[in-house]
């Protein structure tokens, strides 16, 4: 209660002229409350964070075995070290772009009717979810920074020397956009709940496609040799025109120098365009969805 009072006093100077800031203040309050909520389940959170590191160990063993069995020094331009570095970097990217529970949570709130709270209150659902997700991520990084730091330290020999400043900047920009892209794609997916009562099957299909085409499974350069049936177009090129690879492959490829120069710049702009497209799709889905929604379930 004293906390509520303190927040209030800080805001008492706000007048109508500060309207844009009022939106920011709501957002910050939502953020702090979401952080408090995340911290309630800190035990589960810490365990979940640590478990994420198990798959990487199996990947290192797998690719060590693959390279031991072949005499080739590299596969699709990736040496064994490159591959391990790639997987570690996609882990970082996925830490930004993956949105566990977002689409299923939206679909559930539509199905059980709890989304109506956001229709009744003068607050925007998508902004609210974004605040909640930023809070979620911040708490996650706070805990994950330690195991991440340890693993990267132990695996430092797999990495090429630190890239130049422009590459690091491009990497950071791509990470930030991968967060937004992941968020708005999953949010739009969750809003299918307005049209279909049961969307878990669709989400599973999306997850599979995402896993394959984002580069989470293997570096997408490996698709370069696979023809699509269209003359001269490989699967890798098709994948490059889709938004998925920005959520895992692209930032890792930028860091490892697989994409550079004007190609990198163009890809960053394309990623920004995808973010905008997905924001619009999300807005439209919300707008259309809430108008046709029947609010079943009380």
């Amino acid at each position: 209660m004293s906390q509520a009072g303190a927040t209030g006093e800080a805001g008492s100077g706000l007048t109508a002229a500060w309207q844009p800031l009022a939106g920011l203040r709501i957002w910050l309050t939502m953020l702090t409350i979401c952080i408090e909520e995340r911290l309630v389940y800190r035990g589960d959170f810490i365990l979940g964070t640590l478990m994420r590191f198990l798959p990487i160990v199996t990947q290192i063993f797998l690719w060590t075995a693959v390279f031991a069995a072949t005499s080739r020094p590299d596969i699709a331009g990736y040496s064994r070290n490159d591959i391990v570095a790639y997987y570690l970097l996609t882990m970082v990217t996925r830490a930004f772009s993956s949105m566990p529970g977002l689409s299923s949570g939206i679909a559930r709130s539509i199905r059980d009717g709890s989304v109506k709270k956001y229709l009744v209150q003068p607050v925007d659902y998508v902004s609210f979810l974004l605040a909640a997700r930023v809070a979620h991520k911040l708490v996650y990084y706070l805990i994950a920074i330690f195991p991440f730091g340890l693993v990267f330290f132990l695996c430092r020999s797999y990495f090429p020397p630190l890239p130049d400043a422009a590459t690091i900047l491009a990497f950071l920009a791509s990470l930030l956009m991968s967060f937004l892209l992941g968020f708005f794609m999953e949010a739009a997916l969750g809003m299918l709940g307005f049209w279909f009562l049961e969307v878990s099957s669709l989400m599973f299909a999306y997850m599979l496609v995402q896993y394959l085409l984002s580069g989470h499974m293997f570096p997408l350069d490996m698709l370069a040799g696979i023809p699509t049936g269209i003359a001269g177009v490989s699967l890798a090129e098709v994948v490059r025109w889709l938004p998925f690879h920005y959520t895992a492959y692209f930032p890792a490829a930028v860091w490892l120098g697989k994409i550079h120069g004007p190609e990198r710049t163009a890809a960053l702009f394309a990623e920004a365009a995808w973010v905008i497209v997905m924001i619009v799709v999300c807005r439209l889905a919300w707008w259309r969805g809430t108008r046709r929604w029947s609010a079943f379930g009380g």
Binding site: G8, M30, I33, Y41, L202, R291, S294
Partner: protein, 345 residues
């Protein structure tokens, strides 16, 4: 009753059809479902007209699936109607203007706007920001509301640790922090014990009087209605069947009074049975249903036989009147039942 002074809520020809889909399961079926789904139309609300004046406390009654909740959802802008118009505080609810949303509140029993894992005080703080409540005013309103409901000690405890009744009280506080002018309550006392029900009655009555809040309440408990509402609107099959005062409903829809007699012995019971009035003997008690117009003639006749220790004359219980009223509603001509619409998960 229909022409209210200073109407806060004006509804004309409001109708809502639901399209109900038959939903198959599984991945393949889901994908097939994108292209084709079988559906049927259910009329949940069929052209309702209503006006509610400022400060009125209206009970919305009706059997399950009658369209009460649909009506409240339309008035609070959660869903858009199929036909008709509605204005609440001068706004069309389903346009969901922020200016409108800051001036009303909706409480649906057992559906929490409170954060499950956090103390209610945190949810209140969020409401302060969302509704842009002046801090001093916020603190004053909050303290007043929690004291009135006696829940001050509970607001720092995680909501998940509270009982249903405690949660409901805190839901009400959350809903009233921004001092709404219009309040929609959907079964606010459902599942609560008698004490909690009573507290909530007192609270709502006080809030409504002090602040001139316009309240629409749906409930299945006649205690709520008797304690709070002067005006009753009965909805069945998506139509308004009755709109008037609570007193009038009793006058209009009851033909009988209930006479209860405490009897001395079996001889008195036999005397009663000989008189031939509809009579039920339960141990030492006899319960008679007597035509209201004839009560003055019948009572002396009944008492003349002697052996009666005590007598009481009461109206038919409100539950019974309302149940009779629900049953008397003409069945809707369409094949689809509105109950299907609300029962769909």
């Amino acid at each position: 009753m229909s022409a209210a002074k200073d109407p806060v809520i004006r509804v004309a020809g409001l109708a809502k059809d639901y399209r109900v889909f038959d939903k198959p399961e599984g991945l393949l079926a889901s994908i097939r479902g994108i292209f084709h789904r079988s559906s049927r139309v259910v009329e949940a609300l069929r052209g309702v007209d209503l006006e509610v004046g400022r400060g009125e406390f209206v009970a919305l009654l009706g059997p399950n699936g009658a369209g009460k909740t649909t009506f409240l959802k339309l008035l609070s802008g959660i869903i858009t109607p199929s036909r008709g118009t509605a204005h609440v505080l001068g706004h069309v609810p389903w346009e969901r203007a922020d200016d409108f949303r800051r001036r009303f509140a909706l409480v649906m029993g057992q559906r929490n706007q409170l954060w499950w894992d956090l103390p209610a005080a945190e949810s209140f703080r969020l409401h302060q920001e969302i509704y842009r409540i002046d801090p001093a005013r916020f603190a004053r309103t909050r303290d007043e509301l929690v004291d009135m409901l006696g829940v001050r000690k509970l607001i720092l405890q995680p909501v998940r640790e509270l009982s249903l009744g405690e949660r409901m009280k805190l839901e009400l506080v959350a809903a009233l922090l921004h001092e709404p002018e219009v309040l929609f309550l959907d079964e606010p006392t459902i599942g609560l014990d008698v004490v909690a029900q009573h507290t909530i009655h007192e609270f709502l009555r006080h809030v409504q009087r002090e602040r001139q809040v316009t309240v629409i309440l749906t409930t299945h408990y006649m205690k709520d209605v008797a304690a709070l509402c002067e005006r009753v609107v009965v909805i069945t099959h998506g139509d308004i069947l009755y709109d008037g005062s609570l007193v009038e409903i009793v006058d209009r829809f009851t033909t009988h009074k209930i006479v209860t007699l405490d009897l001395d012995d079996a001889a008195a019971a036999r005397h009663l049975e000989r008189l031939g009035y509809p009579c039920e003997i339960r141990g030492p008690q006899a319960i008679l249903r007597i035509d209201r117009a004839r009560i003055a003639d019948v009572l002396p006749e009944v008492l003349r036989g002697g052996g009666v220790r005590d007598v009481s004359v009461e109206d038919v219980p409100l539950e019974e009147i309302v149940a009779e009223l629900f049953r008397s509603a003409p069945a809707r001509p369409t094949a689809a039942s509105p109950a299907t619409a609300e029962a769909t998960p």
